[in-house]
Structures are given as structure tokens and as C-alpha cells.
Point group: C2
């Protein structure tokens, strides 16, 4: 694989100097155009030590406008980083649209090192690379231009490079004993590198192997590749915008596909997105077919009710149980992420407050998901959720969430069909990372019927301190009930797995709903912590009743 990168290719000083000025000019002009573009550029440098990774990054910073470039390299994780899933540190450093991010090794470095030194077997290596590929895929799907340079040196060339550096008093610091130790493992490194390149070199994020020996040859290779890639991507995005409009028109009259086999929808790649997107008709048909069948939501019972007295006792009991469990979780540094979605007026806020009443204000944070800020808009839609992830042992409650992508954004057309369709897989991948990191995740859909919503809206209008909750948007959303119902059914079908289950909450009765939410959270915590708190509701004594009344106040 690396044969062609050991040819000893060179560029003479004269040639290099002749090319410098036109190339710099082109790069700077492209960067100006890039500033107004709707995508970021992500450039990754990995490879053999001494093959010019840092030098290349310095050169890009020198030749282009450094104001719009961020450079990131990673040492050992900080405790704030260790307390979140591994990719949190990469998400938080992603450049916004119009900017260039230069990354040194970064998301490849741990899997690669683990494999090269033998800490991970091939299966573990492949699994880690799959995660990396999914990460790059989701960025590319969102429009990012991803370039990856593998800087190569032959074994002997690396030895000579180290020797040369060691002789130069100003450069000798660059060579450490660890470098020589790694040199001893050269063959194992190369074997791991080959697998890495094979598994993660894909159309939307290709690896380019760069012969690193001659700094002029290397620099020209990287800079012209970068130039061509930015230019091509700018053009492709422009074409895509035009095609996108055409496809949107075509969708209106497209032929229906198999309505009961929606799975291909969430695996469309950017390469064939325009072809796959022509399925507005499919959605409509699917929706009609479903209207005839009972959906997941339709099957929910609507008669689950808790009388006031039982509610008071159960509430106090579950809150006490939750409190004990959360303190245990805090001690053991286990975090919890709770997601609340539901119809307007289904009682998300009330359920959340019954949870937070049982918690210490030090330990939880409610994140109300409203319109994104301009910084958030300039990133992948998941970026703003990654940035909220809290430190270990905390409870993070999302009042609405990333599922907005497949609900409101789908129904209102803020996201293109190809965008919300691939979101199911992106969301599963995101949540998988939370769960793998040991975080307790629970997702609630608060369900009420259309009639129940109407009577709640009307009630809200009469209570002064609840009136603010009701906006004209609520009424507008209500008109799109059927479309939302389809979106909700799809969401639950595609994002409820045994590890990432949705809890459907029959919220027609608020008492029942609140207790069900509390109980579900407690059970998830018990399962995660391997402890069991007495689950039997206490007998109703007079003292109990008084106590629960107090807590209600």
C-alpha cells in the first residue's frame, strides 16, 4: 500500500519557488469564497512520525488566512473529557461553516495506537474504526468537506530523519525516546495503518497517502490537493443546491416505492441522495396505509388513571426512591440523560418538575431546546446537543431534543427529506455512544389524544399563569396533527431499540403520567446501578398523606 509513497519524489527549490505565488493566491481566493459557504473543511493529518504532520499544519496556517483556521491536537483526555463519551472532545472542536479545521491524528489516534501496540485485537480495532467512519459520515452528510492525509516515511527514511533532527541543536527536541521506541515497532504500525486506511477511506472522506521525505514535494501535494478539493466541493455544493430544488419539484410527481419497507430511507448516502429523495409520494402513501391500521400510538390505552390519593402516596414514594438512586448514581459518577418529547400540552413540564423536585439543584440541568443560535446553526445539528453533555454523575433533562430533526423539522420542511431520513441512524449512533459510556438514557413520548389536547388548550386560556404557555404556534401545530402522527410513529419505529428504548407515556391522566415517568427513571437507574429500592407503595397512613401533601405544596 505504501510502495508508491517511498519513491523518493522531490521538487527542486526553483520549481517550488515558481509555484509558490500562484498557489498561495489561489488558496487565499478560495478561502475567501469558502467564508460564505454552507460547509466546513475538516483536514486530518496522521501518519509516520517525522513525516511532516506539524510542519504541514504550520505551512497551511502560513499560506492561508489563519484567522479562519482552527488547529487542534489532542493529548491525554482531561477529567471533563473522560466524564463524557470519547467523541465529545472532537465534537466541541469542530469548525463552523466557512472555516477550516486542521486536526492532528485526533479521532484516529487512540484506536490506531491501541492496535499498533497490541492493546486491541482486530475486532476491537474494526469496531473503533466503524465509530470513526460513522462520525465522518454524519459530518460529510451534513455537507462537510473532509480530507485526510496519511504522511508516510519508509523505515529507513524515518531513521535518517530522526538522526538528522538529533544532530540539529534547534530541532533535536523533536526526537524523543518514545519516537525511537515507536520506530522499533515500525512494521506493526504499518500493518495497523494499512487496515485503518482500507477501512476508513471512503468517497466522502478519502485518505491521501503523502510521501513525506521531501518537504517541498510533500507541501505541494498537500496544498494542491487541498486547493482542488475546496474548489470542487464549492462547485458541487452549488450544483447540489440547484439539483435540490429540481428534486423537490420532482418529488411532487414521483412514483411510489414499496410503502411497507421504509428501511432504505435511512441509509441513503450523499452520493445518491438526490435520487433517493424523490419520495414525497411514498410518505403520503405510507401515511394513508397507516391511517387504516392501528399505529403504535393508537394502541396506547387512554383510560389509565390514578386517583388523587393514590397519586399523592405513589408520587412521594417514587420521589424518595428516585432521590436515593440519584444520590447513589452521583456517588458512583453515573450520569443520566432524560429526553422528553410529546404533544403540546401533554404535560412534559409538569413531569419534569416532579422529577426535579426529588433532586438536588446541584445535580441536574434542564435544557429547553429552542431555536438554535447562529453558532449552533453553523454546525451539524447534533453539535448543540453534544456541547450540553454534562460532567459525570449529573442529570441532564432535555425538554424537547435532537428528535426535533425528525419531528418539527420534518413536518415543517426545515430539514430536507434526505436530511431527516438519515437522522434516525445518526441519532441511534449518538445515543449508542451515551449508553456505551455508561450513561443512563431514558426517552419519553408524552401522549394525549387530539380531543384531550383541545380541552387542555381551552383550559390554559382561562388560567392566567398558564396562558403564556399557549401560543399561536401551538394551534398551528395542532392543524398538522396527522403529519406529526406519521413522524412520531416513524421515529419510534426507527429509534426504539432494546438499548435505547422509548417509553410511551399515556398522559391523558397527569397523575398516571408523572408516576410512570418517575417509575421508569427509577427502574432504569436500578438496572444500571444493580441496586433495588423497595418498590412496594407504602400503606396509606395518615402521616403519609400529610407528608405527600407537604411535598406537593
Amino acid at each position: 500500500m505504501f510502495r508508491t509513497a517511498e519513491l523518493g519524489r522531490k521538487v527542486s527549490r526553483t520549481e517550488f519557488e515558481q509555484l509558490t505565488e500562484p498557489l498561495r493566491t489561489e488558496l487565499l481566493e478560495l478561502q475567501q469564497r469558502l467564508l460564505g459557504a454552507d460547509f466546513p473543511v475538516i483536514v486530518l493529518f496522521a501518519g509516520v512520525d517525522g513525516a511532516g504532520k506539524s510542519e504541514s499544519i504550520n505551512l497551511i496556517n502560513e499560506w492561508m488566512d489563519p484567522r479562519w483556521i482552527v488547529t487542534r491536537a489532542y493529548g491525554p483526555a482531561s477529567d471533563e473529557e473522560r466524564e463524557r463519551p470519547e467523541f465529545w472532545r472532537y465534537w466541541r472542536d469542530l469548525p463552523p461553516c466557512g472555516r477550516v479545521g486542521l486536526f492532528l491524528s485526533s479521532w484516529y489516534s487512540r484506536p490506531f495506537r491501541d492496535r499498533a501496540v497490541g492493546h486491541a485485537d482486530e475486532a476491537a480495532f474494526d469496531k473503533a474504526l466503524e465509530r470513526v467512519a460513522a462520525f465522518e459520515r454524519t459530518l460529510a452528510d451534513d455537507g462537510a468537506l473532509i480530507l485526510k492525509f496519511w504522511m508516510h516515511l519508509g523505515k529507513e527514511a524515518q531513521r535518517q530523519r530522526f538522526k538528522a533532527l538529533e544532530k540539529d541543536p534547534l530541532q533535536s527536541w523533536r526526537v524523543t525516546p518514545a519516537d525511537w521506541e515507536n520506530w522499533g515497532r515500525y512494521d506493526a504500525f504499518i500493518a495497523a495503518a494499512e487496515r485503518l486506511l482500507q477501512r476508513t477511506s471512503v468517497g466522502y472522506a478519502p485518505w491521501q497517502i503523502v510521501e513525506g521525505q521531501d518537504h517541498r514535494y510533500r507541501s505541494l501535494t498537500i496544498l494542491t490537493t487541498l486547493r482542488d478539493a475546496i474548489r470542487r466541493h464549492l462547485e458541487e455544493r452549488a450544483v447540489r443546491r440547484v439539483v435540490g430544488h429540481a428534486v423537490a419539484l420532482a418529488e411532487e410527481e414521483a412514483a411510489p416505492a414499496d410503502p411497507r419497507n421504509p428501511s432504505p430511507m435511512d441509509t441513503d448516502a450523499p452520493g445518491h441522495a438526490p435520487l433517493m429523495a424523490a419520495s414525497g409520494e411514498v410518505d403520503r402513501l405510507l401515511s394513508e396505509v397507516r391511517r387504516g391500521l392501528p399505529s403504535i400510538l393508537d394502541r396506547l390505552p387512554t383510560d389509565l388513571v390514578l386517583d388523587k390519593e393514590t397519586y399523592a402516596v405513589r408520587l412521594a414514594h417514587e420521589q424518595g426512591r428516585l432521590n436515593l438512586l440519584m444520590r447513589e448514581a452521583r456517588t458512583r459518577q453515573v450520569s443520566t440523560v432524560l429526553v422528553f418529547e410529546g404533544w403540546d400540552a401533554a404535560g412534559k413540564g409538569g413531569a419534569i418538575r416532579r422529577l426535579t423536585q426529588a433532586l438536588d439543584a446541584r445535580d441536574y440541568q434542564v435544557i429547553p431546546v429552542a431555536a438554535p443560535s447562529d453558532e449552533e446553526k453553523a454546525h451539524h445539528y447534533l453539535w448543540r446537543f453534544w456541547r450540553h453533555l454534562s460532567r459525570a454523575g449529573r442529570v441532564l433533562i432535555f425538554d424537547r431534543s435532537w428528535y426535533g430533526r425528525v419531528l418539527v423539522e420534518r413536518v415543517e420542511g426545515f430539514a430536507q427529506p434526505r436530511e431527516w431520513r438519515r437522522a434516525y441512524a445518526e441519532i441511534r449512533d449518538f445515543e449508542e455512544q451515551l449508553v456505551e459510556h455508561g450513561i443512563v438514557l431514558a426517552k419519553f413520548w408524552m401522549h394525549i389524544t387530539r380531543d384531550e389536547q383541545l380541552s387542555r388548550f381551552k383550559a390554559r386560556e382561562t388560567i392566567p399563569y398558564k396562558r403564556w404557555k399557549l401560543t399561536s404556534e401551538d394551534w398551528r401545530n395542532r392543524e398538522k396533527w396527522d403529519q406529526y402522527e406519521d413522524a412520531i410513529n416513524d421515529m419510534i419505529e426507527r429509534t426504539s431499540t432494546s438499548r435505547l428504548p422509548w417509553t410511551l407515556v399515556e398522559a391523558g391522566d397527569k397523575h398516571h403520567a408523572r408516576v410512570k415517568v418517575l417509575t421508569t427513571v427509577c427502574e432504569a437507574l436500578e438496572a444500571r446501578l444493580g441496586v433495588h429500592i423497595n418498590n412496594e407503595p407504602p400503606r396509606k397512613t395518615h402521616a403519609d398523606k400529610e407528608k405527600s401533601k407537604k411535598k406537593e405544596g
Copy 2:
């Protein structure tokens, strides 16, 4: 001081229930108005344990719209927090305009605890409180509404409260052995609390002592205080906007003050800002007086030149020296913050690149300061610089900086006179915190004459890959040369202290300028690290020349 908070005041359940609905309605309505306001609300809860701090925070979250409230409490600092100045964690949690931030103890808790348990003497306590006061002052000056509640319980009442909690199986976890230990120190706590309240209760951030025994009395006190304060502040800000316009008009015809004694300007408090702000005429006069006298900038020699050969040798030498020092700093976790300001085309970028060439891309970050994002605009102007502070051992280079407040924002009128005048003190305080934390700080003003700038602008127009650097804004800025000169002189006079020195760089000759910057950074590092790297330029051998040529390429 706390006598009046031990009166055992109570509110009956009936009274409380009667007041609930109107009060909630008022709070929610105010919160709606607040969303469109140009200031944040910062509410701090401190005081005796068991007096209802967490409960009050929960209640506010319950009665108001929790979507626009952030709640923050602080445990031990994370390593990312320890690697920055103490206030970094508070800056990053500040709510944006229109939102409410609820803080548990937070910036008071370390000074208070240190004093109460005897780790700090009175002088150290006072110093810590001064820092706190300066922090709150700068937020209040920026428009923030700050409310501080000291929740009080008498010694016996606290004991009874703990006992009662311990008896309740659902609440007993709230009482820890540490609580009882603290109870034993009750008198020392109260003594420290009295001093704390006296020193930090000021008009713009008053403490309100709240009797904590009865939860209904306590809740009503806090919520009505909050309601009244938000209402009053909304009105005051509205009035201030009107008055602000009037003052701006008045400034045009105001009488001059003593032109050689500008010091009162940077101590105006928000209370009398409109009166102090009428000094547009003062500025003009001052500027004329100065025009007759040589200013700091005028006194800079313009004939400092390094010939190409000496430059090449000195550059290579200083870069090598810098590299050694920075690696030592990295090892010892000493961070460096470098600030570059200067005339357009004075060579900031070139000087920065000569620095970064000597560094490892893993260790530095260049922060180009452009227009703020909407999240940044919704915060204090220093917020966006605090958020950039890097982890320990890194080099952070600001290409333009917080000094924009007293340069471009002053000259262009983006900041009101009272805003940029108080910025001198705010900036000194910010930089003091960096230096106290052990960070090496160097600030460079890159100076060229007006004629030199003109010839550089003209040269830029002819070099294709430099043309993008020259914008119409550069030409516009150039027309305001005199106003900028005044602003620069003021800036240097007021923000150059022995601990926070400005380095004026005679940048008419780029070679001289780059070497001076490198040497200054090296010297600052040597002083901080207590090491000395051979400072003599090496003799010019042929090999040296070749080497430095290579580095230039």
C-alpha cells in the same frame, strides 16, 4: 446584623395560597418582557445550611418558565477549571441577555469557607472579596441585574432543622456529618458572613438577608423581591436608553474638564454614569493638547533596522531559544497569553507566524478576533475572551483582542464613552487574574508611521496573494488616524503597569519588529520560569546562514 432574620416570621398556608396565583402570573409576565431585554438576571443564593437555598431555586424553576433559567452549583474544580483562573468557571456559566441565572454560593463559596475555617486571614478574605466585588461590578456596569439572597437560620433553628430532616426517611440524606461539623463552627461562620455581607453589599448588587425558617415566608420574600427587582430594572434600563440619547446630544456641547487629569474617567459607576459621560468635548480638547506634545507613540524611534543577514541569524537564534523555553513551560504547565494590537499593515500576522514557526502545532492557538457571534453579543464583552482561555501549558495568541473595546469600539462609537472608559479598569482586572494564575502575559503594540502605512497599503495592492488583506475598511480606518492615536495613547497610559506591561514595537522595519517580539516573549518566559537561555547571538558562520535561509523558506 442577623437579629432581624431571627424573628420567627411566618406566613399562613391560607395567606400563601391566596398570594400564589397573582404572584406567579406577575413573574411569568415579567419573564416574557425580560426575554426581549438587553440584560441578564443573576440571582445568587448563599447562607446557612438548611435555610432553604436549594428549595428556593427549585421553587423559582417551578413558578417561572424553566426554559429561560439556568441553575448552577459548583463542586470541586475540574482539572480544566484548575488550569485557568478561578473565575473562568463562573464566566462560562453566565446567562445571556434575557435569561435568569440561579447560582448556589459560587464565587462566594471559596473565600467564605477559607475564612470561616480559618485558612485565610482577614486581609486575604478582604482581597478575595474585592475580586468578587470587581466581578459583580463589571457585570452590573454591563447592565446585569444582580440579586443576592443570604438565607439565614439562628443557631438553634439550624439544629432543629437538621434534627427534623434526620427524622424524615426521605430527607435524612440532606444532613451529613459535615453539616454537623459546620454547625459546631456556627459562630465563626456568622462572623465571616457579617464581614462578607458588609464588604459586598453595594447598590448594584445588594444582599438581601432572608429569614429561612418558615418556607412560606422565605419563598414569598424571595419571589416578591425578584419580581420587584426585575420590574424596576426593566424600567430603569428603558429610562437609561432615553437618557443615553439625551446625554449623547449633550456631550456635543458640554464644558471641558481638566484635560490632563483623565483618571476619574475610568471610575464612573453606573449610578452616575449619565453625569460623567458628558465629555466628548474633553476628549477633543485633550486630543488637541496632546497634538502639541510628543506622545508615547511619537517618541518611538523609527530608524531601528536589522539588515537581512543579521536578521536571519537572530531569527533562527531567537526561535530556537523560544522553542526551548516553551517546551520547559509546557512541561511545567505554564501558559502564555500573547496579545497583538497595532496599526493595519504593521505586521502583526508576520510577527505571529515567526512565533508559531518555533512552536509545536499541538501547543498553540491563534485567536483572530473578528465580529462577535450572537451568543457573544448576548454576554459581557469580556465573556468571549474568557471562553477562549486555554488549558495549562499552552500558548494563546490573540490577533487583536479585548483592547478592541478601547480602540475600534471607542473610535467608531460602538461602545458608549462610559463603557469604554470603565473598560480600562475591567481589562486590568482581567489581566491581573491571568498573571496571578501564573500565566505569562505579553502585549504588543506594533507601530508604524502614517506614511509607512500608506506605502505598505500601496505595495499590498500589487502582490496578488496579499491583496485580500487590504479592504476598504483599512482605508476608512486610516482616515481616523488621529482619533486612533488618541485612543492608543490612552490605552497604553492606562493599561501598561509593571505587572502588565505593553511592549511598543517599532515596526517600520519588519526584521527588527519580529526579532523584538521574539526576544520579548523569551525574556518574559525566562523571568517566569527562572531559567536563562544563552542570549548572545551566535557568530555568523556559513552554516548558520544556510540554516536560517532554510527556516525562512
